[in-house]
Amino acid sequence: MNTAVMTNNGAGRVDPSITSAPWFTSLVTVILLAVLLGAGGAAYEGFLSGQVMLNLLIDNAHLLVIAVGMGYVILAGGIDLSVGSVLALTTMIAAWLLNAGWNPLAVIAIVLAFGAVFGAFQGALIHYFQLQPFIVTLAGMFLARGLCYLISIESITIEDPLFVAASQTQIPFIGGFISPSAAIALIVLAIAIWASRRTAFGRGVYAIGGNEQSALMMGLDVARTKIGVYAFSGFCAALGGVLFAFYMLSGYGQHAQGTELDAIAAVVIGGTLLTGGYGYVAGALSGVLVLGTIQTLIAFDGTLSSWWTKIVIGGLLFLFCVVQRLLSVRSQQS
C-alpha cells in the first residue's frame, strides 16, 4: 500500500533503500534496453542507425497502444485477455464496412466506439457481478474471435485510399521517418501518461489497484473508474486494430494471435506490478521497445528462429517477476 502512495507522489518520499523505490524497476528496464541495444550495435553493423530505432516504433505501434490500455487495467488490479481478439475483430469489421463502401472516417469512429463499448461491457460484468477479470475477459476473447469468423473465415483486403495512404505516408522525425500509426501511438501514450498523473481518473486507478476497499471507503467512484479502465482498454484494443489495419491493409480473424500476452509481458517488463497500484504508464513504452529490440536482434542475426523470441520473452518475464517479488519482500521487511 505504501508503494502505491509513493507512486502517486513520484519519488517524493525518501526511502531507506534505493531498490524499493518505485522507479527502480523502471530503471532496470531502461538499463536492460540500453544493454540490448548496445549488444546489437556491437554485433551488427547498422543496428543502431536511426531508422532501425524508428522502425521499432513503426512495427510495434499497435502493441504500444494495446500495452497502454493494458497498463491502466493492470494498474487498477485487473487483467484484460480480450485485447488481441478485439484487435482482430476491429480489423475485420473495418475491412468489412470499407468493402461495403462506408466512409473510412465513419468506419474508424464506429470500430473505436465498438471497442470502448465492448470493454465497458466486460468492466460492468466484472464490477457489478464481482466476476474475476481473468474469466470475463477470457470469455470476451472467445466471443471476439468467434465474431471475427462469423464475418468471414478468410482474410479481407482493404483497398480504401485513406487506409492505403496511412500505411504509406512517412512523417519526418529526428533523422528518419515514422508512420502515422507510430505518431498516433506516441500521442496516445503521452495522453495516457498525463491522465495517469494529473487527473482524478488516473489517481483513482492507482487507488483502486492499491486497495479497492479503501478506495471505496474514501468515497472514490470505484464503479465508474473500473468500468472506465476496461472501456479504455477496449478502446485501445480497437485503436490498435485500426493501426494494425493500416499496417497490414487487411482484416483477418487470425490477426494478432497472442498479442494480449505480449502486451502483458510489455507492461510487466515495463515495471508495473501485476498486483496493481504500482508502476508507470510510461513503462509500456520501454516494455514494448525491449520486446521489439529482441525481435530486431533476432531478425538481424538471421540464423536464430522466431521461437527464440518467445523463449527470451518468457525468460525476461521470469526475471522481472522474481525481481519484483524480491523487492516487495524487502520493502515489506524494511
Binding site: Q130, L138, L150, L274, I313, G314
Partner: protein, 353 residues
C-alpha cells in the same frame, strides 16, 4: 465429492436444500442432458452403437474418446483451481510432452524379410517416461514459482505458457514431427475391452485421485487451502508443499493429454497442439460447479464439464452449423455460467421474482 462441513462460506451463497435439484452436480448434469436430448432429436442415429471387430463404435463413443484429453487436463486443473490457483500453461505442456514423445519415438522403416516394419528410435517406455518427465518438470517449475516464490498463479504460469511453446518449437525446428510407430498409436486410438483405451486412462486417473482425496485427508487439506490459505497454514497444513504438488499433478495430466493428442493425430505439432486447451479446461472446471474462488471443487463435475464442451463441439459440427460459431457459443456459455455463480446476479434474479 467434497466433505460438506468446511463449505459453510459457500453454503451461505447457495442455501443447501435437501432436494435433488440443489445438488452441486445437478446443473451440469441437466446441461449435459439438455444437449444430449437436442442431439437425439436432431441428429439421426445419435444413439446408435455398433460392434466392429469387437470394438464399440458410435457417436457417443466418439464424443467420449475425443473428450479424453480435455478430461485429463480438467482433472489436473480442478485441483489447482481448488487451491485458488490457475494454470494457463497447460497447452504449452501438451505441446512439449507430445513433441518430446514424437521426437524420441520417430519411427523409421526397416525392411525385414521383405516386409516393411517400423522401428522406434527410442524404446517407447523410455520415450513416454521422458515426455511425462518433461511435464513433471514443467509442473515443478510452476509449483516453485507459485508456492515457493509466491508469484500470482496466472503470472507464474504465463511464463511457461509463453516460453513452453517456444521450447517445443525449438526442439522441432517449427516442423511437424510425424510418428511412424504402430504401438504408439494405441494410446490415442486403441481399444481395450471394446472401449477406447484413452477412456481407461482417464478412468484410472480419476479413480486414483478420487480415492486419494476421499480416503485420505488430502481432499480436506486442498479444500481448506482453497477456502483460507492463511488459516490452513496456521492449522498446521503444509500449504506450500500441497500447492506445489497440485501444479505438478496438473502438468502431469497435461503431459498425458499431450501424449494422447499426438498419438491420435500420429504427429506432434508444436505450433498448434493443445492451443487454448487451458481455456477449455478452465471452462470445463467452471461448468462442473467448481468455484474459481477456490475451496469448493468436484472432480466428477469437471468430467461432466469436459463432456459438455465436447458434446457441444460435436453437436455444432454435426448440425452443420459453421464451426466458427463454436467460439461464440462457448463464450456465451462462459458468461452465463459465471453470472449464475455470482452472488450479485443471484440477488438481482431473486429480487425480480
Amino acid at each position: 465429492m467434497a466433505p460438506p462441513a468446511p463449505a459453510a462460506t459457500v453454503a451461505k451463497a447457495r442455501p443447501e436444500k435437501a432436494s435433488l435439484l440443489s445438488h452441486s452436480l445437478a446443473k451440469p448434469i441437466l446441461a449435459l442432458a439438455a444437449l444430449l436430448v437436442l442431439d437425439i432429436v436432431f441428429i439421426p442415429g445419435f444413439l446408435s452403437l455398433e460392434i466392429k471387430d469387437g470394438h464399440l463404435y458410435g457417436p457417443l463413443i466418439d464424443i467420449l474418446n475425443r473428450a479424453a484429453p480435455l478430461m485429463l487436463a480438467a482433472l489436473g486443473m480442478t485441483l489447482v483451481i481448488a487451491t485458488r490457483g490457475i494454470d494457463i500453461s497447460v497447452g504449452a505442456v501438451v505441446a512439449l510432452s507430445g513433441t518430446v514423445a514424437a521426437m524420441l519415438i520417430g519411427g523409421t522403416m526397416v525392411i525385414n524379410n521383405g516386409q516393411p516394419e517400423y522401428v522406434a528410435n527410442t524404446p517407447m517406455p523410455v520415450a513416454l517416461a521422458a515426455a511425462l518427465g518433461i511435464a513433471i518438470l514443467c509442473g515443478a517449475w510452476n509449483g516453485v514459482l507459485v508456492a515457493g516464490l509466491k508469484l500470482q498463479p496466472i503470472v507464474a504460469t504465463l511464463i511457461l505458457m509463453v516460453a513452453g511453446r517456444g521450447l517445443a518449437q525449438l526442439f522441432t525446428d517449427g516442423q511437424i514431427v510425424t510418428v511412424y510407430y504402430e504401438p504408439f498409436f494405441f494410446l490415442g486410438s486403441g481399444y481395450l475391452l471394446g472401449l477406447p483405451f484413452s477412456l481407461w486412462v482417464v478412468a484410472a486417473v480419476l479413480l486414483v485421485v478420487g480415492l486419494l482425496l476421499k480416503k485420505t485427508a488430502l481432499g480436506l487439506f486442498i479444500q481448506s487451502v482453497g477456502i483460507n490459505p492463511v488459516a490452513a497454514r496456521l492449522a498446521g497444513i503444509r500449504t506450500a508443499t500441497l500447492i506445489f504438488f497440485t501444479y505438478v499433478f496438473c502438468s502431469l495430466c497435461a503431459g498425458m493429454a499431450g501424449l494422447m493428442i499426438s498419438s491420435n493425430i500420429k504427429s506432434a505439432d508444436a505450433n498448434n497442439a493443445g492451443m487454448l486447451l487451458e481455456l477449455d479446461a478452465i471452462l470445463a472446471v467452471t461448468l462442473g460447479g467448481t468455484s474459481l474462488a477456490g475451496g469448493k471443487f468436484s472432480l466428477v463435475g469437471s468430467m461432466i464439464g469436459a463432456l459438455i464442451i465436447q458434446t457441444l463441439t460435436w453437436t455444432i459440427y454435426s448440425l452443420g452449423v459453421p464451426p466458427e460459431v463454436n467460439m461464440v457459443v462457448k463464450a456465451i456459455v462462459v458468461f452465463i455460467v459465471c453470472l449464475s455463480q455470482s452472488t450479485g446476479f443471484q440477488k438481482l434474479w431473486k429480487g425480480r421474482k
